[in-house]
């Protein structure tokens, strides 16, 4: 499990109050019975943790799998790293 994936699973579990063992990459937020208010809190925690901004509205938010979310976060984290100035040696 990548560290991004692990963090996201942890956030979903904590914010939605569901057992982390129930979350799989293929689960959708709908499968996990996550309500909209929990969903926006999950997004907020993910953004805050990774210091990224997720797109404002994804029409497939409910039906998107957890894997889709992990991929999106990994992509945004990589883009942020690429945009950052190279470390001085």
């Amino acid at each position: 499990m990548s560290s991004v994936q692990e963090t996201i699973f942890g956030i979903i579990s904590k914010e939605a109050g569901i057992d982390i063992g129930k979350i799989t990459l293929d689960s959708t937020l709908k499968d996990l019975e996550i309500q909209s208010l929990d969903a926006v809190q999950i997004i907020f925690e993910i953004e805050d943790q990774f210091k990224i901004t997720l797109p404002d509205r994804d029409p497939n938010f409910d039906t998107e799998s957890v894997k889709g979310l992990v991929d999106a976060v990994e992509r945004l984290v990589a883009e942020k790293a690429a945009a950052a100035p190279p470390a001085q040696t």
Partner: protein
Amino acid sequence: MRRVAITGMGAINALGHDAATTWSAMREGRPAIGPIANIPSDLLNIKIAAEVRGFDPLAHFDSKRLILLDRVSQFALVAAREAIAQSGLEFRASGFGERTACIIGTGIGGENSHNEQSSRFYGDKNPRVHPLAIVRVMANAPACHVGMEFGLTGPSFAVVSACASANHAMAQAFDMLRSGKVDFAVAGGSEACVTVPTVKAWEAMRVTADDTCRPFCKQRRGMVLGEGAGIFVFEDYEHARSRGATILAEFSGAGMSADAGDIVLPSETGAARAIAAALADARLAADGVDYINAHGTGTPANDPTESKAIRRVFGSHADTVAVSSTKSMHGHALGAAGAIELVAAIGALRESIVPPTANFIDPDPDCDLDYVPNTARELPVRAALSNSFAFGGLNAVIALRRA
């Protein structure tokens, strides 16, 4: 029970600084949603709102007075002056002030002052907080300032129920008048909450649109924040008639309910109970209503739920009643929303013109009523409803009849 007349109307919002300008913009279906200009927008992801533009407080208040007034109280006073002037009532000179309630709703209160003081304290590390911060921020300030200016010494307070505050406030004033507790009321709602932190908070909830507000339409992307005030004068119907006042409409009923369910998700049955209660209170049959000014926020959740609630109460008449959301033009002014929207309901009753739902593209299969898309419609309106459904599941619906 006594009947209640509306004899004064005042408004300020993105569509205009008075009720007449507001109503003409509504009738023309002319939205006032645009790029945020009154506050810095560099930190905002959602860069649009329906702001009150070109408002110069010094044109309305001297600087000594202004220091006491948050924007929310300024709006309330501007609208109250218009409404009371139109009513022709001189509360101080006539001695009516003692028999007058002053009830003004607001969702948040003095948000601009709160933000300004927090910013000085935390941002500028300035340890001195302004001595008038408390009296500017308090949510009852709009009601107090209106009462002080006009000498209204009867029951006076604020009502807070988020996006239904104005309708709850006006319903309360209506009940007091009808029961004989007072003979007049000055009531409505005011809101001024377009600040950077508030817009950021709305962004975080992911319910605000980044393009414009398109209620009931398939392409809708959420609500657009607005601001402003609407204030009305209510009066014992017989009194208004005997003094020859212009009666704008009859306030004939109010219905309220709470979902006691979810803090954000609206409930069809909760909304339907408030609509049905307003009809019953006004002794109106569903087919006697020709226009509903919808809550119509443009969010994915509200619009289908509200449409179903209307259908549930109106039955087959749901297909013939005209329903529109003027939030498509003046945005969602939260605690002032119901008051600004009452201008639309009164305009429809008086001029037999139903204002449209602007910015409408394609219908949403989940919203299957007649939303009067984009163009106003000539239609005799005998009675109208105005819906407000707040976060927290608090619902308030007002019923008006043509005078």
